[in-house]
Symmetry: C2
Subunit: 345 residues, 2 copies
Amino acid sequence: MKIKKRTTIYDIAEKLNITASSVSRALNNSNYVNENTKKLILKTAEELNYKRNTLASNLRKGHSKTIGIVVPRINQNFFSNVIAGIEEATYQKDYNLIICQSSESQSKEIKCVNTLINQHVDCIVISVSVDGTDYQHLQNVLDHGIQLIQFDRVTDELETLKVINDNEQASFEAVSHMIEQGYKRISLLEGPQNLQIFRQRKTGYLNALKKYDLPIIDELIVENAWTKELGAEATRKLLSLNEPPDAIFASTSDFSALGVLEVATAMGFKVPGQLGICGYSNEAFTELTSPSITTIDQFSSYMGKTIANLYFQEMENKEDVEVVPKIISIKPKLIIRSSTKKNGD
Amino acid sequence: MKIKKRTTIYDIAEKLNITASSVSRALNNSNYVNENTKKLILKTAEELNYKRNTLASNLRKGHSKTIGIVVPRINQNFFSNVIAGIEEATYQKDYNLIICQSSESQSKEIKCVNTLINQHVDCIVISVSVDGTDYQHLQNVLDHGIQLIQFDRVTDELETLKVINDNEQASFEAVSHMIEQGYKRISLLEGPQNLQIFRQRKTGYLNALKKYDLPIIDELIVENAWTKELGAEATRKLLSLNEPPDAIFASTSDFSALGVLEVATAMGFKVPGQLGICGYSNEAFTELTSPSITTIDQFSSYMGKTIANLYFQEMENKEDVEVVPKIISIKPKLIIRSSTKKNGD
DNA sequence: TTGCATTATGCAATCGATTGCCGAAATTAT
DNA sequence: ATAATTTCGGCAATCGATTGCATAATGCAA
């Protein structure tokens, strides 16, 4: 790469025999420049192929018009959809996105957050990694005067803005649906219980059982079965029980549900006749398996837009009022497909 | 948000009765500071919760340790995997990623690129949008001394670093495979021909036909069938022909192939018996459909890593030699599944 | 014509970190 | 003991854009 000297406002100023102040003002469309000089400056800037140095500008202005995002995995459908949603909403306001992935490791998450603080982002949007236990790094974000928005996987140890799904309700509805379909021994595949979302989903499951007076059977509740492999493994055990479940709610993800489906099919269980299956997230593939998988849609892209708008709204009345921890809860939707149609309606 | 004053090197300097120079040197682990003072500075920085202002640092240093990425859609599997790959490789070197999506619109692509230039990114990684015709904005990147790496969807109008798939070869192999399976009237669903990747895939298709002495039948070549809907529509027409094809190569994407499969099944065509289907990209769902879909894996995440490494490599010998346009071609892999097993082997 | 407001522009400080240059102090060599 | 070298740390300029303050120029009214 040849190192080229980039045009600055001083170059423009020099060429026109004026000062950089005026150039800056013209470029920012200030009123304190003569219309004609403004036009001349704009024309010259164009000619010299001038591009504002955002680094300098932001340094001076004290903000960066940048939002940092930290997610466990960029290429997981749910997250990439949320990001796409945020991007869409922020793009219009000329904001940039710096994206990091924590790869489900808190130590990397901490590094990411620190980098974003260094970058002077105006806001950090985060969905915490699975192994999180300490949240000092998030407190740190607030201490540096940076807006913090948690979404989906949130921690209650901090009072921040949050955009979440109503996991409990969604889970409750899913399990209720299965019960109404006639399933009676419904197994739950849990996610790591240190994450709130998975605790909530469990609560929803328990509430549904209670509502329909079904017993809670411990051996049907499997801890930590949140990947396809773990889901498959759990299913192998469950279906080998003396009294196997007649339905499995993979509350952790559709991937887990997929593992269930594959094992069940391999073991000769008829889905949904002998075994009902429900996943979580509405991944694209759930529509394509045979049978198609009942699941829960989280409106991921809408969630992204909501996050962005929440930020902008907070910015507007930032002087007005004291910060109140604000929580926006989006109600997910149960998508009923073939894998839970016991009655075959 | 309360506005808080952030700790600067001056605060640290003042507290220790030294100058900011020393603090800066200590923080950068320079040799020109006494070991003891260095330790003291580091300790004080920690105590005051100091975070370097990367904006100021980068402004001074003239680079940003940031790579900008522009893709048509963030949440498309292929792209999010490439991004994840880039992230993984750059994270170790403390680089940041700014990610933009062009939403398949060149005008937005241009805005994205300009933003990235403003941000003083060190490198721009781009896969161009479908409606691209003019590439002045990319030339502009080079003119500003910014490294430019094109990937997947590249334009030959510019001599830049490129990381691509060998689309022609992959396409050739896919079609050859179908012919060897006994399919004789193979239809091609084309993508927009202004994109090189789709032209190359067409060439591969034609070459395979030629190699096996099969005629090129115009009515079996469908322009612009690159979404699920367009693929479905094209299939409806193709299968209604007097002499319908006995195989369809959806060279554009697996989504298109999915459209084909759904329509074919709905119209009562047996796949793969009466109709062979091959997609492109190895989307996760291709494994899950019934029958599973034969497709081509592009090693997307590996591609991302390759892009990052290419950049780092170029950085290292940037003074050494004149820039040579370098093209890295990754050979994709044909994944043979059920949808093309005419002989049922 | 004088006085006052309005508009346009320049001056210089500022944002925070980095770095070349210089000199003082400390160490080593002669 | 003196000279030569190394180590350490300060000074001040710099990166490029922004902005409060001051001043000059212009317009308008009295």
